[in-house]
């Protein structure tokens, strides 16, 4: 049982969702974050003030999956999020100690999707 964290470009978020649904990974959370990788800074000018944006908008996926589904999930994230340019994002995989489905009280493998894998 692992927690897969994927940080991707906002404009690729829908492609990622589509890729995840296709391989039946349907339990996930998504949040908007700001971050900095290696990409070039955007320069913006507002009247006399010029700034470079060191943080760029990203979307973060948190996906808890059973061990068998870790590779599938990673492949889906890569397929959906890759453009080939700097700034495509990162994936982190963490061990997961416990998971509980609040509605039923089911724990661990029974609580993460896909169920029964």
């Amino acid at each position: 049982m692992k927690l897969v964290i994927g940080i991707v470009r906002p404009e690729k978020a829908n492609d990622v969702l589509e890729a995840l649904y296709k391989c039946e990974v349907s339990g996930l959370s998504m949040s908007r974050v700001q971050g900095h990788g290696g990409e070039l800074d955007q320069v913006q000018t507002y009247r006399g003030t010029t700034v470079k944006m060191e943080l760029s908008d990203k979307v973060r996926f948190d996906i808890a999956v059973s061990d068998d589904f870790v590779d599938t999930t990673i492949t889906a994230l890569c397929d959906g999020a890759r453009t080939g340019e700097v700034g495509d994002g990162k994936i982190f995989v963490l061990p997961l100690e416990r998971a509980v489905r609040i509605r039923t009280g089911e724990t661990d493998m029974a609580a993460v999707t896909p169920v029964g894998a």
Partner: protein, 432 residues
Amino acid sequence: MPETINTGDTAWTLMSAALVMFMTIGLGVFYAGLVRAKNSLNTFMMCVAALAVVTVSWSLIGYSLAFGDGSGFIGNFDYVALKDVGFEPYGEQTVPHMVFFVFQATFCILTAALVSGAVVERMRFLPYLGFIALWSILIYPVMAHWVFGGGFLQENGTLDFAGGVPVEMGSGFTALAAAIVVGRRMDYGRRAPLLPHSTPLVLLGAGILWFGWFGFNGGSGIGTNQNGVLAFVNTLLTPAVCLLTWFMLDLIRGRKVTAVGAATAIIVGCVGITPAGGFVSPGWAMALGVIVAIPSYLLIVWRPRTRVDETLDVLAAHGLAGFVGILFIGFVAQADWNGISDGLLYGESALLGDQALAALVAPLYAFGATFVLLKLMSFGFRLRVTEREEAIGLDVTQHGEEAYISGEGAILIEPHESDQRGQRVLAGEAAV
């Protein structure tokens, strides 16, 4: 002022010009709300740019091509760079010629801005400026000449009160051609939803447009005459009934009345009454609210199912509604109300033919000429942003700004800290 000038007429026409000018800003608000947040500034700027580009092109040449004597097809160069556009009235009018000029200028500006709705979220900004400059010289003035400047439709007897031909059918069918030549957005028709980012902005923009439309239609009598007053009143009636009809259609289709639908209905109603405003009775204006809503509603529901990404439905809201409005005059015009001509229902069949001719030639010219113009431009210029720029959004890639900026992570480049120290020294000296 020359003696033929009527001050009341002049005052109202001046006010109307200001109202129509503000419609372009209202349109910017409306369009900005309808697109995604990352493209909202660029979309708004396309309307603002029309104020800059078209004011110049119209003053230098467009106005002369529309209102110079010329032929049945196009004007001439009599008024190039506003030569002889002074205080003496144009033709039989009772306002100074320059007042008529500025009123007409606001129409051309608004129409050019309307067209941007077809190409938002993917067209590069500089080619867009070039396009509206050429369009406001080669295409709009021709159609304006046909119905307002002594062209063949006007001679023929076609009635178009405030611009069903050049503004509404002109923008609508131009938009269709532009959407086809520029091509659809890369996310169009895929899973990614392309939703309005701010519905309150959409409603606010539609409200500003409706408000401005009282000058657009109500001012098109070029004075406070009967036709102008009738058009002013009808500009409240038709959109209100259209709005109500749209509520019904929304209820039938989805069991809920939608806000974006309401904003659209306001535009459709205003467009429908634009050509007919000064020619049909208030009762028929209300009936038009029902009649104009239905075809536009159906086209708006159907269009996203096609491969044509005419993004903000200029064709449905303007082209089709203008087409309906122009034909409607041919049926229900009443000489009792407009002092000019009766329609088919009041015993005069000739008018309907004149209206049908306008409804045929305006779409053909607007679509055909725009298609050729943009195709020719596309050989010399790249009209679209790259896929990568489209993904990031046009606000950042075209303008280097964002609509909704938090400021987090922004590092100051200019002014330098040293600049500010310099200012402090200066301020200190001044204090001493």
